[in-house]
């Protein structure tokens, strides 16, 4: 395959605020977007970004996706529509759960007022592909459009599929990412019941005291383009999506395979797909959920994929320490965080990391950002995303 994939625009709405640069700058400065045990996108006011009709016609997860997509296409220099052939412009946006807020509200309406009272907008709002469909409609993206659903790997899977669409020749441009708005009564209670959530309300990946993840919400969207097409239109190129791979643990419904076998394989395959040696990676943006199981198996996976020696040299940090776990949006938001970190050649920190755990002995960039390798080497990094169900997706990015 000779078609190469460039990133020409990024957009994000996260607990650290509205905007991809805001995410990068605040995280790098050590700011946390977590309050009272939740990572809410508190600075996001839908009406500031969307029309009355758009707000009414979308669940919060779609609203977040629309805002992130708006920023991304503007960042890519679009004037409201694809610069190229709309038929060859695609849209792939993942989510873990989709419009669960709508589902919960309408379920209550049905119980309290009867089936005849539920909103005719229920299904179009709650369907997990709504974000993808609505973004495609707004920007006249007429190529392939669909959602990906793989729990907390969904955003990374979406971007991986988008990359394949371009490389395979099905599309020249894809608006892609992930979105999630699941801080709802049922979803929160359900994650809590399975003991996945942090009792302390503190996200501290890789720390000995980590006790579960902190729920977050938000969206991340990227504009990917085939390199020649992007250069022809004079687009500013932020970086390259060099490679992608995905594997399955085939092990347990929720627990990662302890040795990190599947995750390690995904890392190795992503590097192979990118044609890049393990030694050329200068930064890893970990999935790093702050759960006891993930952070241990992910550490094992990084060691297995890079070799003990190289693994200990690599800066590895977790965005979730600053924003919590954005579930289906995590892989997308974190790939944007990875790209901007590589562009600025800075490793943002793993916040709240104070007490090392036995066997978790990588360089987790504790609490303070640090400069990455200087400009003489290529700025290549990985973004890991793993989901309940045993889904592993890894993206290999390079800043231009």
């Amino acid at each position: 395959m000779t078609r190469s994939v460039v990133i020409t625009g990024v957009g994000a709405v996260t607990p650290l605020g509205v905007g991809a640069r805001t995410l990068h700058e605040r995280w790098s400065a050590g700011v946390s977007g977590i309050e009272d045990g939740f990572g809410r996108a508190g600075e996001f006011e839908p009406k500031e970004h969307l029309s009355t009709k758009e707000v009414r016609r979308s669940d919060r997860f779609t609203q977040l996706a629309l805002a992130a997509a708006g920023e991304a296409v503007e960042d890519a220099g679009w004037d409201g529509a694809p610069p190229g052939d709309p038929d060859r412009t695609a849209c792939v946006i993942g989510t873990g759960i989709g419009g669960i807020g709508t589902l919960e509200t309408q379920h209550l309406v049905m119980h309290e007022q009867g089936a005849g009272r539920i909103s005719p907008l229920s299904i179009p709002l709650l369907m997990a592909n709504a974000a993808s469909g609505v973004v495609a409609m707004k920007y006249d993206l007429r190529g392939q459009s669909f959602g990906t659903v793989s729990a907390c790997a969904a955003g990374a899977h979406a971007i991986g599929m988008a990359e394949r669409l371009i490389r395979y020749g099905d599309a020249d441009c894809v608006v892609t990412g992930g979105s999630e708005a699941a801080i709802t009564p049922l979803a929160t209670a359900a994650f809590d019941k399975m003991d996945a959530l942090s009792d302390s309300g503190i996200s501290r990946p890789f720390d000995r005291r980590r006790d579960g993840f902190v729920m977050g919400e938000g969206a991340g969207v990227l504009v990917l383009e085939e390199e020649e097409a992007a250069r022809e239109r004079g687009a500013r190129i932020l970086g390259y999506l060099r490679g992608y791979a995905s594997t399955s643990d085939a092990h347990h419904l929720t627990a990662p395979e302890p040795s990190g076998r599947g995750a390690a394989k995904a890392i190795e395959l992503a590097l192979k797909d990118a044609g890049i040696e393990a030694g050329d990676v200068i930064y890893v943006n970990a999935h790093g959920t702050s759960t006891p199981l993930n952070d241990r198996s992910e550490t094992n996976a990084i060691k297995a994929a890079f070799g003990e020696e190289r693994a200990h040299e690599l800066p590895v940090s977790s965005t979730k320490s600053a924003i919590g776990h954005l579930l289906g949006a995590a892989g997308a938001v974190e790939s944007i965080a990875t790209l901007l970190a590589l562009r600025d050649r800075i490793a943002p920190p793993t916040l709240n990391y104070e007490e090392p755990d036995e066997g978790l002995d990588l360089d987790y960039v504790p609490n303070e950002a640090r400069p990455l390798a200087n400009g003489d080497v290529r700025a290549i990094g990985l973004s890991n995303a793993f989901g309940f169900g045993g889904h592993n997706a890894v993206l290999c990015l390079e800043a231009s």
Binding site: K53, R56, P120
Partner: protein, 82 residues
């Protein structure tokens, strides 16, 4: 209530609903077509729910067929009330 609702009251209620649906206020008039205000079939189902809540009038899908303007919608509600 149903017995006391005037034509004007119903019309104002429909105007208010259309504004909530996202129609531009300066486009809303008795003879404006729903389509021109970007009001579609999903919105009309919601409008039927509002009418039922406020006036106790049940509108079915087939009742709404052919209803293209605010005036026609108000006529329909009035005829059901009558």
């Amino acid at each position: 209530m149903a017995a006391t609702a005037t034509r004007e009251e119903i019309e104002q209620r429909v105007f208010k609903a259309l504004e909530e649906f996202g129609a531009e206020p300066d486009q809303i008039s008795p003879d404006a077509e729903f389509e021109s205000m970007d009001v579609d079939s999903l919105d009309l189902v919601e409008l039927a729910q509002i009418v039922e809540d406020d006036y106790g009038v049940q509108l079915k899908g087939e009742d709404m067929e052919g209803v293209k303007t605010v005036r026609q919608a108000v006529d329909l509600v009035m005829s059901k009330l009558g």
